[in-house]
C-alpha cells in the first residue's frame, strides 16, 4: 500500500491534472490508506470526497478526462464499482475509439478485490475477467509492492483507462521496492521463479499461495516455473507459451470465477498456439462459482489456498 501511495504522491507532484475521487479519500486518507497525507498536501479540489454514488462519480471522471484532466477513481471495493459498469463499459472504454483518437481517456479506476476477513459477498469480489472482456480497458492486478508501484506509475502516465485491482490480503504485505523513476509496462508477465517440470500461472494473492506450494514441492525435487501475468489486459501469453514449451504442463490459478475467466482464456490461447507442446491436459484452479459466504470455515472453502494449489500441481504431474 505504501508503494502505490509513493507512486501516486510523486505523480501528483509531477502532473497537476491528476485528481482523486472517492468516498473517504480526503481528510480520512482512504479506507485502505490509499491517499494518506495527500489531502494536506493537495487540498480538497484534488482529493475530492464524493457522495456514495459510484455511477455518478465514475461518469464524472469520464467527462473530466475528456476535458483534459487525469482522474483517479478510488472505489474502495470492486463490488461497489459494479454500479458504474455502464459508464465504464459504454463510455470510458469507447470514447477514444469513437472520437477517432481525438479524445483521450486517462482514467485510473482503483480498488480492492478478493476473499478474506469474512467480508462476505458484497466486499469479496474479483471481477478482473469482466473488465478484461471489454475492448478499450487495461486491467492491472499486481501481486507485490514493487509491481504495484511500477504498474500504477505506468497507468498514471498513459492515455488509456486502467482498472487497477489490489487484493485486500496483499495490502499489508512488505517487499523490496526499487528507488527512482521507473515504471512497469503493461502486458509483460514476470517469471517469479524458474522451473522445468510444470508451469503455473498465478495472479495477485494466488502468486503467494503458489510460491508456498512451490517451496513445499521443491523439497521433493519437483521444479515449478511460476509466472505472474501482472496485467490481464493486455495479457502476455507469449511468456506462458515459452514456459510450456519447456515444461509441457500448465496450471492456471486465479481466485476469480472460472467460467469465461483467466484460466479459460490462457488455456484457449495456449491450445490454439501450442497444443503440440503439451504433455497433459491444461488444468485450472479457480474460486468457487458461488457467492462468497461469511462464516470463516465456509469462506475458507471457496478460495484457492497454498494447499489446494499444491494438490493441483501434484494432480497435473500425475496426468
Amino acid at each position: 500500500m505504501q508503494a502505490t501511495l509513493e507512486a501516486l504522491t510523486e505523480e501528483m507532484a509531477r502532473d497537476p491534472a491528476i485528481f482523486v475521487l472517492g468516498e473517504g479519500i480526503g481528510k480520512r486518507g482512504g479506507n485502505f490508506r490509499t491517499t494518506a497525507g495527500l489531502y494536506e498536501r493537495y487540498g480538497p479540489l484534488r482529493l475530492c470526497d464524493t457522495p456514495i454514488c459510484e455511477r455518478g462519480f465514475v461518469g464524472l471522471a469520464c467527462g473530466a478526462a475528456m476535458a483534459g484532466a487525469r482522474p483517479v477513481v478510488d472505489f474502495m471495493f470492486v463490488d461497489f464499482v459494479l454500479d458504474a459498469l455502464g459508464e465504464i463499459f459504454n463510455q470510458i472504454a469507447k470514447v477514444q475509439y469513437m472520437s477517432g483518437g481525438r479524445l483521450r481517456m486517462p482514467v485510473l479506476l482503483r480498488g480492492c478485490i478478493g476473499v478474506g476477513h469474512s467480508a462476505a459477498t458484497h466486499h469479496s469480489g474479483s471481477y478482473h475477467p469482466l473488465f478484461a472482456h471489454i475492448p478499450g480497458l487495461r486491467v492491472a492486478v499486481p501481486s507485490n509492492p514493487a509491481d504495484a508501484k511500477g504498474l500504477l506509475r505506468h497507468a498514471l502516465r498513459g492515455h488509456d483507462p486502467v482498472v487497477f485491482l489490489e487484493h485486500r490480503e496483499l495490502l499489508g504485505v512488505k517487499g523490496p521496492v526499487p528507488e527512482g523513476d521507473w515504471e512497469i509496462p503493461f502486458g509483460r508477465a514476470a517469471v517469479v521463479r524458474p522451473g522445468k517440470d510444470v508451469t503455473v500461472v498465478a495472479l495477485s494473492l494466488m502468486v503467494r499461495h503458489a510460491l508456498a506450494a512451490c517451496a513445499a514441492l521443491e523439497k521433493e525435487g519437483i521444479s515449478v516455473e511460476l509466472i505472474d501475468p501482472r496485467t490481464v489486459a493486455p495479457l502476455d501469453v507469449d511468456t506462458v507459451l515459452a514456459s510450456v514449451r519447456k515444461t509441457g504442463r500448465l496450471l492456471i490459478v486465479d481466485e476469480a470465477f472460472g467460467p469465461f475467466g483467466l484460466g479459460s482464456e490462457i488455456a484457449a490461447q495456449v491450445a490454439e498456439r501450442g497444443l503440440d507442446q503439451l504433455d497433459a491436459p491444461i488444468r485450472r484452479l479457480h474460486g468457487a462459482h458461488a457467492p462468497t459466504p461469511y462464516s470463516p470455515p465456509l469462506e475458507a472453502a471457496v478460495a484457492p489456498t497454498a494447499k489446494t494449489v499444491e494438490r493441483a500441481i501434484r494432480d497435473l504431474l500425475e496426468d
Partner: protein
Amino acid sequence: MNGRDSSRALDLYRRMLLIRRCEEQLARGHQRGLIHGACHTYVGQEAVAAGVCAQLGAEDVVFSTHRGHGHALAKGVPPRELFAELLGRATGCSRGRGGSMHLFAPEVGLMGTSGIVGPCILQAAGAAYTFKLRADGRVAVAFFGDGAVNNGAFHEGLNMASIWKLPVVFVCENNQFATEVPFSYSAGNPDVASRGAAYGLPGVAVDGNDVLAVDVAAEEAVRRAREGGGPTLLECRTYRTRPHSEGMPDFTYRTREEVEEWKARCPLARLRVKLLEGGTPRNWRRSRRKSRGPSRTPRSSPRKVPGPTRPPRPRTSTRSRGSCPRRPSAPLARSRSCRPPSRR
C-alpha cells in the same frame, strides 16, 4: 426590435434554420436508404440548441444525447461533417465510427452525443470539474431529454454539481415523450425545473419554442456558471414534430391534432413573425453581408435547397483522417442556407 436585438435574432434564426434544413435533408436521406441505423431528428426543438449554444464560446463544451444533430450544428460542427458521418464516411465527424448517435467534434467543443440516456449529465459535470480545477473560466453544458430526469444520472450529477459548485448548465429538453412514453405518466413530479430545489440549485422553466426566451435564460445560466455561482437546471418545454426516429410510426401514442398544434408553434415561424413585425429590419442587409448568411430571405423554400443527393465517394480512413474540410464544399456549398452560422 432595435438594431442590436434584430441582429441577434437573425443570428439565432440562422442557427435554427441551419438545423431545420439539415434535418429535413437527413430525413430524406434516411427515406432513400442513404442513412443507415437510427436517425433521431431535432425538428421542432431547434430553439433550444440555438438559444443555448449562442451563449457559448468556442472553448466551452457540450455533451448531448441520441437526438444530437441540432446540438452539433449549433456548436459549430460543419454540416458536411455531420452528413458525412450519417452517410458512414471516413470524412464524418466521428470518422464513420459513430453515425447519428455518436457524434464527436472536440475541436469545436462537441464532446459527444450518446446512445445511452443519462451519461451526458455526468460527463458535463466532469468537464466542469476539470474547468474548476484549472480555473479557466470555461463552461460545460449537458443537453438531455425528459426521459433522463427519471434516471439516476440526473440525481447523482445534479447533486455533485451542486455541492462542488461546478460551472455547468443542465438543459432539459422536455419534449414530453421518452421515446413514446409520456412524461406525464413516468414522472412523479413532472415539473422538471422545480426539481432543482431538491439539489439546492436554481431551476428555470422556459418556453422551449421561443428562442429569444431560451437565449435570455441561457445567458443568465452561463453567466452564473462562468462567474463561479454554480450550476443551473434549465427546463425548455418543447415538442418534437417528427417521429422518435425516422421511419417509426408516430400516431400510436399521440394524435395528429396534437402534432399539428405544436407545428403551429414552430420556433422558426414564431421568430420570423416577430422579425417581420415592423417590416424588414433596418440592418437586415448589413447583417447578412457581415455573416455571409443566406442571400435569399430566410423564407426560401426547403425544396430549393440542394442537399446531399449523391453520397461522397468512399475514402480510406487513413488518408482522410484529420483532413475534413472546415468549410462545406460541393454539393453543400450551393446550399447557402446550410452554411455554418457565424460564430459570435
